[in-house]
């Protein structure tokens, strides 16, 4: 299916996972990502794959741990409260250096929160999420096409760096329909000599484990893991720069917030305000370089978020607080309107004059 087809974000993501070679899906029902499971339930039995509805999010992520240990591509999807439950397992995946693909179609929180779109799991996902020293790769799509493309990318990065990768979407990304092109993916094939596939009496036993009772050994594994993270930060950070060449003000946003912000930037440009946008595509690794560079040229940043302001801290860190970073936000399942963002741009531009 190399032709353009109209698909829901959640379904495009599921189909892309299958095209990436994923044949094992485990999940537990939660709004607003049920289309992923429904798609997998329909498709997996037809292609010799396995869809299994687990008894809980905790069981699902541990089934993922089992398949990942066997060296096969595997995924789970959930939404914010369910991801919190999976965090124990994600920490174990990171500790055992296992590749896995996880989807968080975020909803408002904390607690049971709501079911409307949100970006308030930014801290949770970009700081690891569970206990211990670790990161996961976090990809933030802003279109249905990216829901698909970043899924394939996520599987590849997870295998290459032996760590979990997550698509951090939101209810809007999951539910909206757009034309999407798939079918020409060439997923990477990565050798997995560490996998527990049975010794065949040909080699010493493999052990998948995150327990190190000797603190020196545990420290060494953490140092090694962070050396790998440094390579990822160097090589894998992705972002989009939009109208940034002559910008005085830099709007920054990811996911649905970037769609809203793009309209606001265009509207502001129409009124003669020199504003551009930096859109992080990887949230971890955060694309620090373009922000550091922009901080030398622009007068201010505006972080547009569906949260009480979480990515804004990474912007401040990446720019070393050289320029003021303002927050323009809604939360709890509310989405900022282009008018709200435009008003913020005008307010900041007015203050600059």
């Amino acid at each position: 299916m190399a032709d353009k087809v109209l698909m829901k974000g959640n379904e495009a993501l599921a189909e892309a996972a299958i095209q990436a070679g994923c044949r094992h899906y485990f999940g537990y029902p939660i709004t607003p990502q049920t289309e992923v499971a429904a798609y997998m339930a329909k498709r997996m039995p037809k292609i010799g794959g396995c869809f299994l509805q687990a008894e809980s999010e905790i069981a699902a992520i541990n089934m993922v741990y089992g398949v990942a240990s066997a060296g096969k591509r595997v995924m789970t999807s959930s939404s914010s409260p369910g991801i919190s439950l999976k965090e124990e397992g994600i920490s174990y995946l990171a500790g055992a250096d296992l590749p896995a693909f996880i989807v968080n179609v975020q909803r408002g929180g904390p607690g049971l929160g709501g079911i409307q779109p949100s970006q308030s799991d930014y801290f949770q996902s970009t700081r690891g999420g569970g206990h211990g020293d670790y990161h996961i790769i976090v990809l933030a799509p802003s279109s249905v096409q990216e829901m698909a493309d970043l899924t394939v990318k996520g599987f590849d990065l997870a295998d290459e760096y032996r760590m979990p990768a997550m698509v951090l979407a939101d209810g809007t990304m999951g539910q909206m329909m757009e034309p999407v092109t798939m079918g020409s993916y060439q997923p990477k094939t990565v050798e997995k000599p560490w996998a527990v596939t049975g010794t065949r009496m040909q080699r010493p036993h493999n052990i998948v484990n995150s327990l190190y009772l000797n603190p020196e050994e545990l420290e060494r594994t953490n140092f090694e893991r962070y050396a790998r993270y440094a390579v990822i930060e160097q090589k894998e950070a992705m972002y989009e720069a939009f109208l940034m060449d002559d910008a005085d003000i830099c709007v920054t946003a990811f996911g649905i917030a970037s769609r809203v912000s793009r309209n606001a930037v265009l509207a502001a440009r129409a009124e003669g305000i020199k504003v551009g946008m930096l859109r992080p595509i990887t949230l971890w690794p955060f694309p620090k370089a373009p922000f550091a560079e922009a901080a030398d040229r622009v007068s201010a940043f505006i972080s547009v978020e569906l949260s009480m302001g979480q990515m804004i801290e990474d912007v401040e860190l990446a720019t070393r607080c050289k320029r003021p970073v303002y927050l323009c936000n809604r939360t709890g399942g509310m989405i900022p309107s282009p008018e709200q963002v435009l008003a913020k741009i005008k307010e900041i531009a007015g203050g600059l004059k």
């Binding site: 541990n62 096969k72 596939t197 036993h205």
Partner: protein, 250 residues
């Protein structure tokens, strides 16, 4: 010279860390003997628990995975679904299987997941120093039930085989003990059957092994073995609780 006794091939040369008088060593041996007898070592993946047997991954020669506390049946489910031709077993204690991992246990059983579960019930949390387990007996003194387990306050012990036997799913549920030669021989048969069931594709087979913890029970090894006969077995009767091949008249 004729060899009359040797270590099973499915055990590594790593020295076991278990306390003197602990019967985990016997149970490890029985599992390894079954793997040897069936010639499945090269095809087997074991899942170690959190608890006293946490380092079982160093002791079995087959490929091993260390699971989070209680999650071994879910990890085993993933392994089996990924590699249906491999033999997958879990080795779990009472806290792991019957407390924090109860949901994973019940649902793996009701799905009749084609795995083998070795459940070591010694009525106490050993690794953390002797706290009350879901299987601690009424009145049993532990670090967290210093006046004896008061069933009015913290409820009754969980009888895992009896409970799971109510489910339609599981293939085979048996309770054995390893406190004397006769019981060890029965345990060996049950454990081997639990592996044979998986090879035959029959489904979820769990063997509950009543085991001694002299250290945390505060007894000599000899007294601990006697306590199994006096206190444990009357509360947890030995026997086969479910065997679908028998039900079907096979």
């Amino acid at each position: 010279m004729k060899t009359v006794f040797q270590k099973p091939k499915a055990l590594t040369d790593a020295p076991l860390h278990y306390c003197p008088g602990c019967t985990h060593g016997i149970i490890h041996r029985l599992v390894a003997e079954a793997i040897d007898a069936l010639g499945i070592e090269g095809n087997t993946v074991g899942v170690a628990p959190v608890g006293c047997a946490v380092m079982a991954y160093d002791y079995f020669s087959c490929d091993m995975v260390e699971a989070a506390h209680g999650r071994a049946p879910a990890v085993a489910t993933g392994l089996k679904r990924a590699m249906p031709e491999n033999i997958i077993f879990t080795y779990q204690g009472d806290g792991d299987l019957a407390s924090i991992g109860m949901a994973e246990t019940v649902h793996a059983a009701t799905r009749n997941e084609n795995i083998t579960v070795i459940f070591v019930n010694n009525a106490i949390y050993g690794m953390t120093g002797g706290q009350m387990a879901p299987t601690s007996l009424p009145g049993q003194v532990t670090q967290t039930s210093p006046y004896g387990r008061d069933v009015k306050h913290c409820g009754y012990p969980v009888k895992v085989c009896e409970m799971l036997a109510q489910l339609e799913g599981p293939e085979y549920l048996a309770r054995v003990a390893v406190n004397n030669v006769k019981n060890v021989l029965s345990a060996k048969k049950a454990i081997q059957k639990a592996f044979e069931n998986q090879i035959a594709g029959k489904g979820f087979s769990l063997v509950e092994v009543i085991s001694a913890c002299p250290t945390n029970w505060g007894m000599t090894p000899q007294k601990a073995l006697e306590w199994i006969d006096e206190k444990m077995i009357p509360y947890y009767p030995l026997g086969v609780y479910k065997d679908r091949s028998k039900e079907a008249g096979v």
